[in-house]
């Protein structure tokens, strides 16, 4: 086993364990912290797959932005009541079965599709330019319009969030 594989298995185990903790913790703040651990380990796997730029985006945007927002809201709302309430819905057996069936379906789909690509295949062509440059070139040349649309989407979301969270609209 190479160093890369050990790192991969360690990160996946960490991601799965913390993901399970995210959905089972009673206290939402603990859930947030475990989700951060999951995001970090997934980001680590991004790094193993040579997506350095997206690793940085994952940490700066996801962990440093979105999760801070989560933490902020969790701190603002009253948690004491929520902790004492029942955590799981009544049909949890059914829900769990559904989730397992979903996983099985996806796994089957991947298994059936494995003729389309070699599963053990390594990268086809070694990258000639750095990851950040490659992403930047694709982003600002091939996907110019989607980037603009995404920025408008963010603006709309920002205005919407401000309107929603405002106490009273006169």
């Amino acid at each position: 086993m190479t160093l890369l594989q050990i790192a991969f298995f360690f990160l996946s185990a960490l991601a799965l364990a913390s993901a399970i903790l995210v959905i089972t913790r009673r206290n939402a703040v603990h859930s947030v912290i475990w989700l951060i651990v999951t995001l970090f380990s997934v980001g680590g796997i991004f790094l193993l797959l040579h997506a350095e730029f997206l690793f940085a985006v994952q940490v700066i945007l996801y962990v440093g932005g979105i999760m801070v927002l989560f933490l902020f809201v969790v701190m603002l709302v009253n948690l004491d009541v929520a902790v004492k309430q029942a955590q799981f819905s009544r049909q949890w057996q059914l829900a769990l079965a559904t989730a397992i069936i979903l996983m099985a379906e996806l796994a089957y789909g991947i298994y059936r599709g494995h003729q389309g690509f070699t599963l053990a295949q390594t990268s086809a062509v070694p990258p000639t330019i750095g990851n950040t440059q490659a992403v930047a070139l694709a982003l600002y040349q091939d996907y110019m319009l989607p980037v603009e649309i995404a920025s408008v989407l963010l603006l709309v979301a920002m205005v919407g969030a401000v309107v929603m969270a405002k106490r009273k609209l006169e």
């Binding site: 997506a51 994952q58 989560f70 309430q85 819905s89 990268s123 919407g160």
Partner: protein
């Protein structure tokens, strides 16, 4: 090298965990976090394929997924604050005023 099948397997399990949490939990905030979990599982699959096809387009998709996740988090959390203020609860079972 890590084979693409391993990464895809991890992505599937993560997605399943997110989906299970989404259905099972009652607290809106945790449900929201489960959505983030699922989005991340999808991102992982995108990056795995991008890596093995040697094409940065998959990473562009991940970038857009993250942008949408940010927009969604901002809106969703604003809604949660509004719900908490009007109904004093975060449990989805209590938000049933539309029920007959």
């Amino acid at each position: 090298m890590v084979p693409v099948s391993h990464v895809l397997a991890l992505s599937v399990i993560l997605f399943g965990l997110g989906a299970a949490g989404f259905i099972v939990r009652r607290n809106i905030i945790t449900i929201f976090m489960c959505i983030e979990l699922m989005l991340n599982a999808v991102n992982l699959a995108f990056i795995a394929f991008s890596r093995y096809l040697g094409d940065p387009d998959g990473q562009i998709f991940v970038f857009f997924v993250i942008v949408v996740a940010a927009a969604e988090a901002a809106m969703g959390l604003a809604i949660i604050i509004a719900v908490q203020r009007n109904r004093q609860t975060l449990s989805i079972d209590d938000l049933d005023s539309m029920k007959l």
